[in-house]
Structure formats: structure tokens, C-alpha cells
């Protein structure tokens, strides 16, 4: 028995720069709890009906450790009966959480689920707080890709798929311009749930604690004045004679995304209004050292599994880990670039690792609705050599 899975709410936080943005001092569990509480409240589902909370996170430790899904569910005020699970498949974690939640609904195990992702790159560095690599990685040349940082994999993709520096810088510029236009048009306001953050500082003069609060409701990474000429001046960050620079790579970012999923039966029974449907998920592996081309495998696999063709797809959110891998994927799959990231991507808005899958799901659902289109794909490459893709439909 396969049941339909509907999405009744899809929201994200604003995306802010790691270390210097508005969420730099906001704990990821607190951020997620607030977003979860507000998203559930707006969805119309009964909190006690929630059968599971599944949250993706790429480095689930320290401030986002201790099973952040359960911690956030509790802090969001959900009943004790609502369980929580944190999952990790790096950059696809947020999408993968949706897929797992959807599976549980499809099989009839539960009626309502919360799925999403969270990442504080301010607090937990890429690689985690205690980066460590197995000695076995170096005992066989085949495994060397597991030791590579993402930047080097992007260089490898750029070289192998012959993506020029200029093409990367132009792509990065377009990402910023599209994001800027979308922000100015107010499109992101529909996606974002404003988050209240608080700071507590010592007032040395009075001996008092100064508490301040602030509402964070807009993305902070967009560089509207970016030009290919300006980007061309940046030095390669990973390879001596490389082409990948901070300007044509995704930004380190803090953020979260949360979706509320229900079965078709539950939707009807409670008279809820659906934003869209989730149809399915595909994930596949590639060589770790060229992890950026993961979507080349995942997207065709998803299309085939759903009995569709690429022509049927109206909107593709392809995570911009790097301009180099994005262009390699677009060229290799011959994607219609007009359909790819119409509102810009992670180069402009940022890439909060484990949250990205959920953030892009939020975007594709609201985007399809706004443009009155039907099918949308969320896809991304994944560290250690994988690609994932998920299919959404707005009906």
C-alpha cells in the first residue's frame, strides 16, 4: 500500500553568514525549535497527531548534537509523545529527512510527520570539532577521495568537465543577481519565518545584564553588486593554478528549514490545504573525488523511477555547492538553465549543509505555486561522493 504524501506547511529561517551573520550566536537547537513551533502552528495539524520529527544535520555534534530533532521538538513545546530522530547524509540530510518521513506516511505507519534540517556553521565547523580520518583511507589509492576537502573535488570536476574560470564567475554573478531580484520582489518573504534572537551582554558600567532581542527575517548573503570582473580578481582557494574561488563557491551559512507532511487521509479528514505533494527520492554514489557530479546519477534515476522525462520538470533547485559542479551537472544532463535555480542559489544565499535539502524544498514548493507550475526537483551533490534528488508536485 502506497499512500499519497502532502505538504501542508513549508518554512525556513533566513540564511545568514557563518561567524558574522545574525545567527552567529544563535544555537541551532533553539533556532530549529522556534521555526518548528511556528511552522506546526501555521500548518493546522494537531501536535499530538505528529508521529515523528525527522531532522537532517551534517555535523550533528555539540550545539546540534544530542539528537537535535528530539531536543528541538521538546523545546518547541510538542507533546512528550512526539518522538524525534536526527539523520545525516551531509548536504542531502534535509531532503533525506523529508524522504524518510514521507516513507513512514506512505507505508501507513504514521499520519503526520515533521521533516527538516538545521546547521550552524558558526558553531560547528565543516569536518566537525574533532576532524579525524581513518588510516585505512591511505592504504589504498582508491580511497584518497575520502580525504579530499570539497574544494579540491570541485577543482577535479572543473578540470574533468572543462568548466572554465570565466564560466564559473559568470554563473556566480547570475546567482547573486537572480537572488537579489527575488529578494527585492519579496518572493523569499513567503518562504521565511521570522526568528527572534536574543543577546545578553554585560554592561560593565552599571553591572547589569543587557538583554536585547531582534527579529531576523531576511537573507544576508546576497552580493548584488557582484560582477564577473570583480570575481575574476579573487585567488583560487584550493589549488595553486585552480579556478575555484570563494566567489564562485557556496557560502558558509547558518539556517534551518521545516516542513509538515501529512497523509492524504489526514489532509481530507482535517480539511487542510496542501502546498504540494512529495513523490519520491533517489540517491546514488559516485567517486568521492568528484562528488560534485552526484546529481548526474541521482536526477535521471529519480525521473526514471517516477516515469517522467526531464521535459516534464518545471523547476530544478540544484544546490550550488560550487559553480564548477553546478555547471558540470547542467551541461552533462543538458538541463534547461532557465529552469535551474530561478531565484539564485547557495553561491548567493548560502549553504547551511544539513538544512539545505529542506530549504530548497521550501523554495521549490512556493516557487511552483507562485508560477503556477507543476513538477519540481530538489537535487544536490553530497560529500564522499553521492548525489540525491527528490520530486515535488504542486497540484
Amino acid at each position: 500500500m502506497t499512500r499519497e504524501v502532502y505538504i501542508v506547511a513549508a518554512k525556513r529561517s533566513a540564511l545568514t553568514k557563518a561567524k558574522k551573520g545574525s545567527f552567529a550566536n544563535t544555537r541551532p537547537d533553539d533556532l530549529l525549535a522556534q521555526l518548528m513551533q511556528k511552522t506546526v502552528a501555521s500548518s493546522g495539524v494537531m501536535p499530538e497527531d505528529i508521529g515523528d520529527v525527522i531532522i537532517g544535520c551534517a555535523f550533528p555534534e555539540a550545539e546540534q548534537g544530542l539528537n537535535v530533532a528530539r531536543v528541538a521538538a521538546q523545546l518547541a513545546g510538542l507533546p512528550d509523545s512526539v518522538p524525534g530522530m536526527t539523520i545525516n547524509r551531509y548536504c542531502s540530510s534535509g531532503l533525506n529527512a523529508i524522504a524518510i518521513a514521507a516513507n513512514r506516511i506512505q507505508t501507513g505507519e504514521i499520519e503526520v510527520a515533521i521533516a527538516g534540517g538545521v546547521e550552524s556553521m558558526s558553531m560547528i565547523p565543516m569536518g566537525g570539532n574533532d576532524f579525524s580520518v581513518s588510516p585505512a583511507v591511505f592504504q589504498n589509492d582508491k580511497h584518497i577521495g575520502l580525504a579530499y576537502g570539497m574544494g579540491i573535488t570541485a577543482e577535479k570536476v572543473a578540470e574533468q568537465w572543462q568548466v572554465s574560470r570565466q564560466a564559473q564567475d559568470e554563473f556566480a554573478t547570475a546567482s547573486n543577481r537572480k537572488a537579489d531580484a527575488a529578494q527585492k520582489a519579496g518572493f523569499f518573504a513567503e518562504e521565511i519565518t521570522p526568528i527572534e534572537i536574543s543577546r545578553k551582554k554585560a554592561n560593565e558600567k552599571s553591572g547589569e545584564i543587557i538583554s536585547t532581542t531582534k527579529i531576523v527575517d531576511s537573507d544576508e548573503g546576497i552580493r548584488a553588486d557582484t560582477t564577473p570582473e570583480g570575481l575574476a580578481k579573487l585567488k583560487p582557494a584550493f589549488a595553486a593554478a585552480g579556478s575555484v574561488t570563494p566567489g564562485n563557491s557556496s557560502q558558509m551559512t547558518d539556517g534551518a528549514g521545516v516542513l509538515v507532511l501529512v497523509s492524504g487521509e489526514y489532509l481530507k479528514q482535517h480539511g487542510l490545504k496542501a502546498l504540494g505533494k512529495f513523490h519520491g527520492f533517489a540517491v546514488s554514489g559516485v567517486a568521492a573525488e568528484i562528488m560534485g557530479i552526484g546529481p548526474i546519477k541521482a536526477i535521471p534515476q529519480l525521473i526514471k523511477q517516477q516515469n517522467l522525462t526531464l521535459k516534464d520538470i518545471d523547476w530544478i533547485e540544484l544546490n550550488e555547492a560550487f559553480a564548477a559542479q553546478s555547471l558540470a551537472v547542467i551541461n552533462e544532463l543538458d538541463l534547461d538553465s532557465g529552469k535551474v535555480n530561478p531565484y539564485g542559489g547557495a553561491i548567493a544565499l548560502g549553504h547551511p549543509l544539513g538544512a539545505t535539502g529542506a530549504v530548497l524544498a521550501v523554495r521549490v514548493l512556493h516557487g511552483l505555486r507562485r508560477t503556477q507550475k507543476k513538477y519540481g526537483i530538489v537535487s544536490m551533490c553530497i560529500g564522499a561522493g553521492m548525489g540525491a534528488a527528490g520530486l515535488f508536485e504542486v497540484c
Partner: protein
Amino acid sequence: MSENLFIRKVAILGAGVMGAQIGAHFANAGVPVILFDLKAKDGAANAIGDKALANLTKLKPNPVASAKSFAYLSVANYDDNLDLLAQCDLIIEAIAERMDWKVDLFYKIAPYLNPHAIIATNTSGLSVEELANSVPESLHSHFCGIHFFNPPRYMPLVELIPSSKTDQAVLTALETFLVSGLGKSVIEAKDTPNFVANRIGVFSMMAVLEYAEKFNIPFEVVDQLTGKNLGRAKSATFRTADVVGLDTFAHVVETMTAKCKDGFESSYLIPEWLDKLIKAGALGQKTKAGIFRKDKDGIKVIDIALGDYRPADKKADPDVLAILQKKSWAEKMAALHDSTHQEAQFLWATFRDLFHYCAVLIGEITDTPRDMDLALRWGFGWKEGPFEIWQQAGWLQLAQWIKEDIAAGKTISQKPLPAWVFKLSDGVYVAGKHYDHSVEKLVELDLLPVYNRQLFPELLLNERIKIEQHTLYENAGVKLWHSGDNIGVLSFKSKMCAIGMEVLTGLDEAISVAEKQCQALVIWQEKDVFSVGANLEEFGFSIMMNGAQAVQEIISAGHRIIANKLRYSQIPVVAGVRGYTFGGGCEIMLHCDAVVAALESYIGLVEAGVGLLPGWGGSTEMAVRAAAAQDPWTDLTKRYQNLAMAKVATSAYEAQEMGFLRESDTIVMNTREVLLIAKERAKFMAQSGYRPPIKPKVKVFGEQGIATINALLANMIAGKQISEHDLWIAKNIAEVMCGGLIDKNSIVSEDWLLNLELNKFTELAISEKTADRIQHMLSTGKPLRN
């Protein structure tokens, strides 16, 4: 006995390049500094000061010794913050050279000063007496001139200029602080235009300019003749002018044109060609063109006759260069005087007029030739001052020749040599005494007590150090002595204190002798380096001849002597460090019980640069220290990077941050005080019940640590940021520092690590690419990246 001068805080008035740099150096010395400037017209009130601080680290050489210095630097403005002056015991004014502005400022700040505050003006062109007469009465006794040289962190000289009303106690206290607290070299100058160093140094340059033109010597040849060959800075005359800035140079000359009526006025004129360059905006280094210009096709030089730049390819005559290679100044000067070669005549003329000028100005700008010589040494980097050269060349003989040339109308000035010159038969330095014109005779050296802290002070001609040296042991490589206090001082005799077998065996023997006869040992060098490391030439040769066998002998000797005998000696050993402390020299330092380092110490384990790893216990010691750190992995990776990238600390404070010096090691500002403090520290350790350390057990990261470092290296090699040989060297360093391919958190002995160090060093040392690196370093002095 003079009273203590406490400088709780310093205020620098004027956040220009000079003011900010002076402030930075006080901060380097741990003195809190408030940098004042005008209130910004818009934006943050202290924006001018903020910008000055931000620009500090962009300057080269870096005026800031460590990021920590910034904790001592704050900014303020004259409108809002004058109340802060009450906390300041020293106020240094460094605003633009305008008498009216300076006087206005002094009147503005006067009501806010604490009554003991010393107010010093860093003027280089204005009269201190005139300024003193213009400041409020209350400031008179505490007011003087203080002339720092640029860049103030690195140029030793500070000229102190009293006015007629300056309290002598104030000058004494200030000099004491500048010498010991700030590490500067001080002379007292009379209040005359450009004071001492610039007055003489600039005249010397003007004389060179004049005679270069007269004898038709191309400028690049002038620089070849007047640089290293005369014991002066490599940049010699014209390139020095380019570095200083031709406009700045002209400005200093103009001060003399306007104010000096000393009979040498005809030389204080900027030649037309120089004026043209300045007007055309060719100001030297800062505008990328001046007297010299570096083009794509090589270095060009201005040619007066041509009125344009031409390739700087002319060379000095070998015969004249041969004269400059002669052993004594007597031989050199006689040969220059007698030669008819244009270049020799040019050199004779410039020396002659310089000596003439210096003699005439004694009594006017300073009373002692000694201070004049020191000013040129400390302010212009001359190895010997003019009077030292003159005297060595033959005092009366030269005086006679100068007199003849004056009579023949060959000199710039017709003024006769002063009579005192002819009254001194041997010169101005005789048997430790020196000439003082205020009493017109030779006098004993009478220095402030602060100079007693310098056991090896700067010595001028015929001066000797005062402390006794009883030799306890000596071989071809080292000398061990003490000065009656049973604290052994061990110094290396080799060039740049490089460590060959003789130094190593000397160290071995000296420790044995010191253990028997001394209460403590200090390793300290008379030269201004601690050691540039192992003698590559000597060891490279034996490795070439005897391969792995030779390597094992060299490394085992180092392990036995440095990592064991020195480390676990029965008496405390203190390293007294200044200047270069590289490789094997650094390893000796690391194995001492404590280090006393001058701020200007440049410490690093640089072996990777020649394809090696620190093999005399340095890699092991870094692992041992990391294991004891609060966060061992973070500490180990930092130390690992220092070694793998052959990083050198640019100051003692930076060496502390990089882990070459311990937090407990001592840093002193004056390099000449290192020996005294090292001896005091060694004595203190000996007398407070010193026991050698016990051999440590070291927790290591093993194969997992190595793998994690390898992951970082895999990215660098994939990104072609390092070569295959770099990778191999780096992996070997990682392997030693992580204790080899064993379980994480294994506990190993120091000997286990030393053995790994020996094996890994040997593998590297006998490799072909490392041999190439060593060869390249020996032949070019620069590292090869292969």
C-alpha cells in the same frame, strides 16, 4: 641615585606613520599607549587613530612584534579625551613639523598633564630650544626633544635633545627607560639643525653627490663603492636616498640650507637633476622610480648627462675595489689619497670632506667624537664611525693631508681644521679614553648605571669590555668562560655560530666541564645571532661521502649531546638568544631549561626548507610540548605546521605564540641585556634547588593523527600547492611528531620518538632531492622547491 621613572602610560600626539610606529614599539615593550589625533570630522570620533592602527601591520618591516601588542594600543582625540592625559607619564609629540601647531597643542594639553609627566617632541627639523621657550612655563623642566629614526622598532638610534631648561634628572630617567625598557641606543645631541646623525649622514651623502658629479662617477658605481665596501649599508648612497624618499631627503637638506651657516653651505644645495626628479614625482621606492628604476628588462639608473634612465650596468674599477679590500684603513686611505684614478680620488675627497666636516662640528652639535661615531653606527648602520676610520688611517697624517687639500682649495669648505685636532697625537680614542671637547681633553667613559646591564656593550675603537673572562674550556668550535661568579658562559666561535662537529663536541665537553666547575651554564653568543643551525657544508659533505652511516653519526651525536646531555645536565642551562635562531641552533635553545630572548629574535625550525626535519631532538621536543598542552591536538597541528612550512617567528613574542618559547621564558627589549638577565636567571635557578627534569612519558596521536594530517596534505598535493618532495618531508615530520604508526593515545618514551626522528631524518637526508636542496642552499643561500 636617580629616582625611578614609572611610565604607566604613554601618550603619542599625532597618529601619523611615525607616531603610530613609535606607539607600536612602546606597545611591543608592554607599555600601554594612547594614540591621539584630531577628532574625525564625520564617522567615529577616533577614526584617524583607528585607521593608523589598521595600517600598522601593512608596513614593512612590521612595526608590530605580535598581535598581543594591539592590546596595549588605544586611540583618542584632542576634543573628547584630553582627560586621559592625566594617566600618562610620557607624552611624545609627533605631529606635523609646524612650530605654531606644536605650540598650540602644548598649550591645549598643558592643563591636563600630571605634574611629573615628561613631554618630548619628536621633531627632526625644529629647534627644541625655540619650542621650549614657547611652551607653558610649567612644562619647561620636563620638556626635551626625542628623535626616533624610521622605522623606530628596528633603527637603534634615539637622539635626546635637552633645552637649556631641561632638568638633568628627567633626561637621565628618560635615557634609562629608552635603553632598558625600549631597547634603544641613545645619544644626547645639542639643539642644532638635524641634530647629529642626520647632520653628518646627510652631509656625507651630499659630499658623495657633489664629488660623483665632479669626478664623473656613474651612480651605480658610486653605490658599489660606498656600500658594503666601506662598511656601510648595502643600499649605500643613492639607493638609500631612494628608500628614504627623495622628497624627504631634500626636506632634511633644506633644513640645513636654511639654518646651517657653518662654512659648508655650498654643499647644502639640491642639485638640479635631483630637483627635476622630485618635481617629476620620481621620489624613490614609494613611487617605484627615483634615482633607480626597476624595469621589466632590469634595473635602470638616472644618468645626469643623458637626462634619462639607462641600464645600471657599470662596474667599479677592480684596482680601486682592490684598494678597499686592503687590511687596514691606513693602507686604504693612503692608497686612495695617492691614486690618480678618478674613483679613488672621488673616495678620498668624500672621506676628506666628511672628516673635515665632523671635526669642525665637534663642540657645536655634540661635544664628543664618540657620540658622533655612535650616531652614524646606530642611525645610518655604519660599521665604524668617521672618527674611528680617521684615527685608524693615521690621525695626524690625515689631518696633514686634509690641511693641504684645504689650502689647495680642493675642499667644500675653506674653514681650517680646528686646533684641537692637531693637539691629539694619536686620535680621539686612546686606551679606553675618548676626547671630550667640553673639557678639551681625553676623558674616561662615564656612562649611566643602566649601561652596566650591558656586559658586552657596543665598543668603539680601542675600547674593551669590562667584565673578566676566565676561560674554563676551549676548542676550535666553542669557548666556555666565567667572570668570577661560577656561571659558565658558552659561546660558539664559528661563522654565524653554525654548528659543525667541533661545536657539537665542544658543547659536549663544555657541559662536562661546567657540571664540574660551575653552578649554572648560559649559552650565549658574542655575535648578534644565536646560531643559524647545523653547518650544512660540513655535514652535507660527509653525507655525500659516507651516506646513511654519516647521517646516523651526526644525528646520534646530536641526540646524545643536545637531547640528552644538555637537557638532563646536572646544572641549570639557560639560552641567551638574539637574532637568528634556526634549525639546530633552535634545537639547542629548545633543550635548555629556560630561555632569555631579546625581542628581536627570529626563531624557527627551518629544516624542511633544505629537505630535512629537525633531527637533533627538535621534532621530538615539539611532540613532547604538544602532549603537555591544554588542547594537545590543536597544539600539535600548530607546531607541525611551523615545522612543515619552515616558519620563522618575526619576534620573540611571536616565537612564544608559535611554541618555540615557553610562556615562562623571558623576553627583554635590549639585545645587549640578554647576557646579564640570562646569567641572573641561571643563578636564580641554581640557587633555588635546581634538579634536572625527569624523562617524560608522551601521549601520542599515532597512526590516526598521521592519517588526519595526511588528509590535509592530500588536499595540498591535489591542489598542486606542494611538491611530491614537500609531501614526503611533511609526512615524515607528521610521523615523528605523532609517534609513528601505533595506536592513538599510546604512551611512548622520548627515546622512542628520538629513534623515529633518526630513522625519518636518515631517509630524507640520503634522498637525491634533499641533496639538491642542500646544494642549492649552499650555493645561492635560498631554499629550492623541488
